[in-house]
């Protein structure tokens, strides 16, 4: 199953901006962040295909996961 993971802001430090991952069926965002060495508590905003996501949601083929630490502006 192919999943795209996009990292932003400080999550890019020491990591790639974007990962095209080939993952086994039944994968959650929690599995992905663990594999990238990111703690759940560090993630302020989690989007799956641009919509509010959930760490335990099972991903499906072609999903895009976007992860942000706390950010803001105006």
């Amino acid at each position: 199953m192919r999943i795209t993971v996009k990292l932003f802001a400080t999550f890019r430090d020491g990591r790639q901006k974007i990962y095209d991952m080939d993952l086994p069926e039944v994968t959650t965002v929690q599995n992905i962040i663990s594999s990238l060495g990111i703690e759940k508590s560090e993630v302020a905003i989690l989007l799956i295909n641009g919509r509010d996501g959930d760490f335990d949601k099972e991903l499906v083929e072609g999903d895009t996961v976007s992860l942000f630490p706390p950010v803001g502006g105006g």
Binding site: A44, G50, V71, G72, G73, G74
Partner: protein, 598 residues
């Protein structure tokens, strides 16, 4: 007197008179200061029907009670006047250091009246206030004027000035201070230009008194702690500036592109805060007593410049809104806006509207004088910014703002504005509360009158579903009232990512000896909001203008994560009016007004 200095400097440019009056403290406290006090003074002294660019309009430059204190970010001043762009109330605030210096010189308010016969500038050194001939400064750009006046004035003076944009009465002209800080929106620079006033240089040696120094120390360290611990104010903004929003707004599919024809921009990362920090950032640039330091200094190599970098809004306006992904071109357009004294949001959005007018065949090739107006053309955003600044050719038409430009071609609906003020960088079709806030902001299409992006996208203070309507009207009202408080105190809105109403209350009470609770302070915010509304109605603004451009109400976003959505304003507005205590017609009703003491 605590917090407030108690003095108003009234300058009549026609008579060349300078008078110092005492501040009506009761009035000041009722409307806090800054934005609120400025509006109250305007209402007391000027008919809101006044022609914004006539001598009868006045400029109120107002500090807050916390301006010049050591409460974090307490350096802001507010320019209140009638807007020549929207005909609504204009209150544009700016950071930097100028506002704090005004307080140090011993004034809460400057009132500028009438019009000078010839260009003048004002110098203020404590009690010594002079009106001087500005012939040699007229026509000069912001950095030149600032350098010249800094040379002439005592060391560490602070300079506020307009650029050629304001002189030429562009309705998008800003008032600039400390080189690159802007009271940007609503065309306040044109009002200053219409009075033949080029600049105000100020140097002060005093300080406002504080009611309870010990308590204030305590409150300040609590504020600083909260700001430091908060992920946005302690890490996100210091590292990336506001530009960090580019990617997140784009990932949500609400990053307006090609004049809101769509809302995903494929090349967003090229113009993002991450890219700017990695490849172009030289250093951060803070305002007065600000631990956040969101300002950026960047290099523009081919021009040999090290200058203020663009904010998020600017990256969007000259970037995706014009289809442009060349970040250096955006730096340049931003630089010219700062030098000509123009609002980057309105200028970028007006160029985007012009691009659509050209795309659809309304603007003809022969009007372009050899320049491009194609979406995606990086040179175009730089060159048209210069043309607008100089008021040349089609640039002179564009200098009137996107609404008047599109109206001239018979298609005002192509202007993405509310009450003629260009909308900022968030497509409300995918952010319901934010759209309601655009429609009801007292100065027109503005994001910083109630920043609903915070809960609807950034999950602060909690995450709301951006597509739902439930509870949004109440959130918008509360955010608008709280923002009116922060703007009136003289603090930066960005503190609100970390601080809540109780902390603003504690700071205000410690400085001024007031006995506010969070509730009474928010009520003051509501009072201010209603007074601004009364201004707009008296000025002739029809509440039917509490709306959004037709495109955003009728044409769904064509692609991306927010695809298929329009803004559902008509479902939100009645509830909002009810919560505000306004009639179905949007007019404030006597009962709420009298409860608010209006």
């Amino acid at each position: 007197m605590y917090g407030y200095i108690g003095k108003v400097l009234r300058i009549n440019l026609k008579q060349k008179s300078v008078n110092v009056e005492s501040l009506d403290l009761e009035n000041a406290k009722k409307f806090i200061g800054g934005r609120g006090l400025g509006t109250k003074l305007f209402m007391d002294e000027v008919d809101p029907k006044v022609d914004a660019l006539s001598a009868e309009n006045k400029l109120f430059i107002v500090a807050g009670p916390l301006t010049g204190t050591n409460v974090p970010t307490g350096g802001r001043y507010m320019v209140v006047t009638k807007s020549p762009l929207s005909n609504t109330i204009a209150s544009s605030n700016s950071g930097g250091f100028w506002g704090a210096e005004l307080k140090a010189a011993g004034y809460d308010v400057i009132i500028i009246e009438d019009k000078a016969d010839e260009p003048v500038y004002i110098t203020i050194e404590d009690d010594k206030v002079e009106i001087k001939d500005a012939a040699r400064l007229w026509g000069k750009v912001v950095s030149e004027v600032t350098d010249e006046l800094k040379n002439e004035m005592p060391e560490k003076s602070r300079i506020l000035t307009i650029g050629p944009g304001g002189e030429k009465l562009s309705r998008m002209a800003s008032i600039m201070n400390d080189y690159e800080r802007a009271a940007g929106r609503s065309g306040v620079g044109a009002v200053m230009g219409s009075k033949n006033l080029k600049a105000i240089a100020v140097k002060g040696s005093g300080k406002a008194q504080v009611f309870d120094e010990e308590k204030l120390k305590e409150v300040n360290s609590e504020c600083l702690k909260k700001i430091k611990e908060n992920g946005v104010t302690g890490a996100g903004l210091p590292t990336y500036g506001t530009a960090v929003l580019v990617n997140i707004i784009n990932e949500n599919g609400v990053f307006p592109t090609n004049n809101f024809q769509t809302s995903v921009f494929e090349k967003a990362d090229d113009i993002s805060g991450e890219t700017m920090a990695k490849d172009y950032l030289l250093k951060k640039s803070p305002c007065y007593r600000c631990p956040i330091a969101c300002g950026r200094i960047v290099k523009i190599e081919d021009m040999g410049l090290e200058v203020g970098g663009p904010e998020y809004e600017t990256l969007w306006a000259f970037g995706s809104d014009c289809g442009v992904s060349d970040i250096v071109a955006i730096f340049k357009a931003n630089y010219y806006c700062n030098e000509y004294g123009l609002d980057t949001i309105s200028v970028g959005a007006t160029i985007a509207a012009a691009m659509e007018l050209y795309q659809k065949g309304y603007i003809k090739e022969e009007e372009l004088e050899g320049l491009s107006l194609e979406f995606g053309n990086a040179d175009a955003v730089v060159e048209w910014t210069k043309k607008i600044g100089k008021g040349e050719g089609l640039g002179a038409k564009m200098a009137e703002g996107s609404y008047r430009l599109c109206e001239q071609y018979g298609v005002p609906e192509l202007s993405m504005s509310v009450k003629k003020l260009e909308l900022p960088a968030y497509d409300p079709r995918g952010i319901m509360g934010h759209g309601l806030q655009y429609a009801t902001s007292n100065r027109g299409g503005c994001h910083v009158r109630g920043y609903m992006i915070s809960p609807e996208i950034l999950a602060l203070p909690e995450k709301l579903d951006r597509f739902t309507l439930e509870g949004k009207a109440q959130w918008v009202k509360t955010f608008q009232d709280l923002t009116a408080v922060i703007d009136s105190l003289g603090l930066c809105l960005f503190t609100s990512f970390a601080m809540d109403a109780s902390m603003y209350t504690a700071a205000y009470n410690a400085v001024c000896g007031t006995e506010h609770t969070a509730e009474t302070l928010l009520e003051a915010g509501e009072r201010i909001y209603n007074l601004e509304r009364l201004f707009n109605i008296a000025s002739g603004i029809d509440p039917k203008e509490d709306t959004l451009p037709k495109r955003l109400l009728e044409d769904p976003i064509p692609d991306g994560p927010s695809k298929g959505n329009v803004h559902r304003l008509s479902e939100l507005l009645p509830e909002y009016y009810t919560l505000r205590g306004w009639g179905e017609d949007g007019i404030p009703e006597a009962e709420r007004l009298s409860k608010l003491g209006l």
